[in-house]
Structures are given as structure tokens and as C-alpha cells.
Amino acid sequence: MRHNNDLRRTIVEMVYRGRDGHIPSAFSILDIVQVLYERVLRVDPRSPNWPHRDYFILSKGHGCLALYVVLERLGFLSREDLDRFCRSGGILGEHPDCTQVPGVEASTGSLGHGFPFAVGIAYGLRLRQMPNRVIVLVGDGECHEGTIWEAAHVAANLRLGNLCVIVDWNGSAAQLLPQDDLPLKWNAFGWSTRVIDGHSQADIVAALQHVSFQGIGTPSVLLAKTIKGKGVPFLEGHGHWHHRIPDEREYQAIMEALA
């Protein structure tokens, strides 16, 4: 995690140059995505479609800047790919695209789709008796969508023990439609539920060690308490920064905060 501010600065540079993107959403999930790829997921940048890989689905696709910078660190993407974010000729857009971007398992961006995709993937793997693990990251605002709970219902009934959901519980959307009883809801849907600190590498790794990832079993959900905009105080929790592109002065201030 020592390079974390480097990654945050890279994200801000990408948004500043590409004139698009969601900085606070990416900062909210960056620690989770980084620790997953560096310490948990079995993946091979030289062979993104390696049959024995673990699957990571970013259901809240608008947080994809965090995924892009981590994929670049691992070698799935090049620095040039990052530099061409949202630019003509580049493969990286405001939402992840599995048809062009190595390491992206499914195209997402419309909320409430990635998690059901993951249910299908996990079930398909189990049918083939494959041991691959499936981890899907959803937003807490995304939990407004009905399909999230439909998928939760189906996964519990299918006993998809090889599936783990991580909820980016930053509370942002709750400002508009509160849902503070998320652990209770996931429990009620038959999931093994654990609340963790989504900015603590140790907490994330320890929680995942409790997940069996057995083909048949209770699916697991980690409700990761996070801070939208984490790392830059004046971005943290501020709704108007959700899709805001910093001007030059703001860009300098953000970069200084991340120095």
C-alpha cells in the first residue's frame, strides 16, 4: 500500500487530462482494489484470460479509474494506456469495457448488472467444478437497485460459496435515500456478513481469509466502510465532486494534498 498516494495522483492526472471521470468514487475503492490484486487475486497479466484466474468484477463501473491504475501496476495496461484515458485512440473510458481492456472481465457502468454477472460466472465455474474465486465490488448506492437483491436471493439459493461481494459502503447515496441497515439486509438474504474497514489492508485481507470460497456454501459479503474521496480532505464526502473535473487551481490543491 506504500504507493497508494502515487496511484491517487495518477488518477487525478488522468481525469485532469482526459476531462472526464469520477475521482471520489475511485478513491473510495482504491485501497480495496489494490489489496485484492496485490495480495488476494490469482491473475496473470501476461495471460489475462488464464483459465485458472480468479475473477474480479467491478459492478460500480464508474469507479474504474481505481481498477485502471492497479491493472497498470500489475502490467495488464501500459502507462500510455492511462495517458490516453478518455482520449481518441485510447482504450480506457469512463466505464470499463471488457471488449478492449485486458483484465476487465465484464463491461459495466449501468448499476445493478455486474453483481448478477458475477452470480452467473460463479455458477458456471461451479458447474465445471473449477476452483476459481469470484469477487465482485458493488456500491452502496448501487444497492438501491432491485437487481442487487434479486441476485443476492439467487446466489444464496444456489449456495454460491465461491462468490464474495464487497460493498463499498461510503454512505454517499444514503444522503439521498438512506439504507443504514445493510448488514441486516444481507443477513436476511442468507449471506455470511462481515463489516470491515475498507481502507485497512489488514482488515480486508483478514476478512477474505475467513471466506471459504468453496464451490457449495454460503456466499459471503464484506461491507467495507469507506470514505468517498478518501485521501483528499476537501473531496471527502462532498457530493458535488462526484463527477467534477478539477480546474487548474483545484488540480494543484489536490496534488499537494496527495504529496
Binding site: 482526459g18 472526464d20 463501473g61 490516453r84 484515458f85 478518455c86 482520449r87 481518441s88 485512440g89 485510447g90 482504450i91 480506457l92 473510458g93 469512463e94 466505464h95 469495457d97 471488449t99 478492449q100 463491461s107 459495466t108 457502468g109 449501468s110 448499476l111 445493478g112 448506492g141 448501487e142 438501491h144 437497485e145 432491485g146 447515496a173 439521498l176 435515500l177 457530493g239 458535488h240 462526484h242 463527477h243
Partner: protein, 316 residues
């Protein structure tokens, strides 16, 4: 042309907000989306503003319930989400019960340019057009957005209002409402090629017509403001002077504006050569902005002028 700096969505929502101040029967439901006008509405008319959460399908059914209670109801979200995601809800809850709900979709076509296909609305028109008893309009400037908002609360009906995401230059002068009664307006006059389009592409059509007029073609431009229903008698009156028709849309060709014009022409017995210009049958993930996407799919000015000129050479 003068340029307004108000976004279409802010203009529309402010109009509804003002109406809601006078009429307590107006209710506005929004899925998660940031807009300055939404913030104003929510702060000032909290009881009449309902934040429906990021759950568009449920929002439609709740809107139906409010409408069944006699309310004038608006639902608001990004265009692809408030239409395709909610298709059965709109059919069952709104269309089949003929409820007076206004569906506001923001960001039609490639408005959300670098957001990718999840956020593009390039098939909304064909899907929504297939529903029974719905009116579909695409305002192309501030004046037509303002008039549209006014009509939605003075004559409530099931409508789908397609708004662009970006600032649009003026096409109509203040108090010009000719597009309303006829559902269309001839905004450039000619007698050779009738270029029929809607929304954002009205502005592209005006650019194209300027180039083609400079090359000696006699091209007119029609803003097809109301795509459903099309008044075939008006269409006949407008196009009868022209030798041929070209339709232009930032939408897939299957079932879109061009299809609607073809159907109306067939129904009205209008016999003209017709060229349909729109987005080829493929989702595009390329980045680089709306103009770049238009170049890729042939909706930029040079491509359009070349294709129209080639079409004319074949029809002569």
C-alpha cells in the same frame, strides 16, 4: 445563432419547479443524478420532490401510483436508464393504464460521450415508439425545451421528453411555437432535398445544409420535434415541394426517426426517394468525445455532405 448557457435539463426542471410552486398537484421523482435545478427543486419543494433512489424501475411504478391518485407526475433519470431499464414498467404501469406521467430522459444519443454504451441512448426512440399511446418529443433548443415543459403540466399526458446533455444554440425565437401544433417545423427552406432530423442533430443538419447550399443544392431542414405521433397531413404539406427526403438521427437506424418518417410517408402515400442517415448497427466504445464518435460513424459534416451528394447523384 445565439448560444444559451443553460443546460436543457436545468431549463426544463426550473419550469416544472415554478409550476409546482403554483400547483401542489405536481410531483417530481428523480433517480440519482446531479443537476443544479434538481437541488433547487428539492430544497424549495421538498414535499413535491421525491428522491426515488438509484432504482429507476421502482420509480416508474411509484409514479404510476401517484398518477392513479390524481397527481401530475414527472420521472427523471439518464435517458437509457429511464427507458430501456424500465421498459416493462412503462408499458404495464404507464402506457396500458394511460397515465399522465412525463418521462424525462437526459442525455440522448451520444450525449454522455466518453461514458460508453451503458450511458448512450441510441435505441431509446425505437423502443419507446413501440409503446401504445405515448407521445415522444425531442426539443432542440431552450425555447422548445421551455414550451415542452409548459405543455407537460398544462396538458398532462404520457410523454417521453428526450433532452440533450449539453448546451444547445437557439433555433427558435422566443414565443415561436410553430413546432408545437404541427409537431415539426421547416427551419430552412428548399425544394430539392428535405433533410428531416431532431434534437441535437438539428444543429448538425443546419451545418450540412449550409455546406450543400454553398455547393448549389437546394436543401431544406425540418425539425421533427414530435416523433410520435407524426401528423401525416402536415408531413405531406411540408415535403410535397421537395424532390427527395433525407433523414438524420443520432440513433440506430432500426426503428428510429428515419423509420418513423418512412412509415408516415407510406401511410400518407408520399412517394419520394428516401436516404436514412444514422448510427450503424454496432456499439462503439471508442473515446475522444462526441465529435470524434460522429466521425467514426459518419455523422460528421464532411461524411454527411458526401453521402447526401452521392445519394442525389443516384436519384437524378
Amino acid at each position: 445563432m445565439s448560444v444559451t448557457h443553460e443546460l436543457p435539463r436545468d431549463v426544463f426542471i426550473d419550469c416544472v419547479h415554478q409550476a409546482a410552486q403554483r400547483d401542489k398537484n405536481i410531483y417530481f421523482l428523480s433517480a440519482d443524478l446531479g443537476a443544479k435545478a434538481l437541488d433547487r427543486f428539492r430544497a424549495e419543494r421538498n414535499g413535491q420532490f421525491i428522491h426515488a433512489g438509484i432504482c429507476e424501475q421502482n420509480m416508474i411504478d411509484v409514479a404510476a401510483g401517484l398518477a392513479l391518485e390524481g397527481k401530475i407526475v414527472y420521472v427523471y433519470a439518464m435517458a437509457p436508464f429511464v427507458t430501456l431499464r424500465c421498459y416493462e414498467q412503462i408499458k404495464v404501469a404507464l402506457a396500458s393504464m394511460a397515465l399522465p406521467v412525463t418521462i424525462i430522459g437526459v442525455g440522448v444519443g451520444y450525449s454522455y460521450d466518453d461514458a460508453g454504451p451503458t450511458h448512450y441512448a441510441t435505441e431509446d426512440l425505437s423502443c419507446m415508439r413501440a409503446l401504445g399511446g405515448i407521445e415522444i418529443v425531442t426539443p432542440c433548443d431552450t425555447q422548445s425545451v421551455t414550451i415542452t415543459a409548459h405543455v407537460t403540466y398544462t396538458q398532462p399526458a404520457l410523454r417521453y421528453v428526450r433532452l440533450d446533455r449539453v448546451f444547445l444554440p437557439s433555433v427558435y425565437l422566443p414565443n415561436d411555437t410553430r413546432f408545437l401544433a404541427d409537431g415539426m417545423a421547416e427551419i430552412e427552406h428548399g425544394d430539392q432535398v428535405c433533410l428531416i432530423t431532431t434534437g441535437y442533430m438539428v444543429h448538425r443538419a443546419l451545418e450540412v445544409s449550409k455546406v450543400l447550399q454553398g455547393a448549389g443544392y437546394r436543401i431544406g431542414v425540418v425539425d421533427l420535434y414530435r416523433i410520435k405521433p407524426i401528423d401525416v397531413s402536415v408531413l405531406r404539406r411540408v415535403v410535397e415541394r421537395y424532390e427527395c427526403i433525407v433523414t438524420l438521427e443520432e440513433h440506430f437506424l432500426s426503428g428510429g426517426l428515419g423509420s418513423a418518417v418512412l412509415e408516415a410517408c407510406a401511410d400518407a402515400g408520399i412517394s419520394r426517394s428516401i436516404l436514412r442517415l444514422g448510427i450503424p448497427d454496432q456499439y462503439r466504445f471508442e473515446n475522444g468525445g462526441r465529435d470524434y464518435l460522429h466521425r467514426l460513424v459518419g455523422l460528421d459534416v464532411p461524411s454527411l455532405t458526401a453521402r447526401i451528394a452521392e445519394f442525389l447523384s443516384r436519384t437524378e
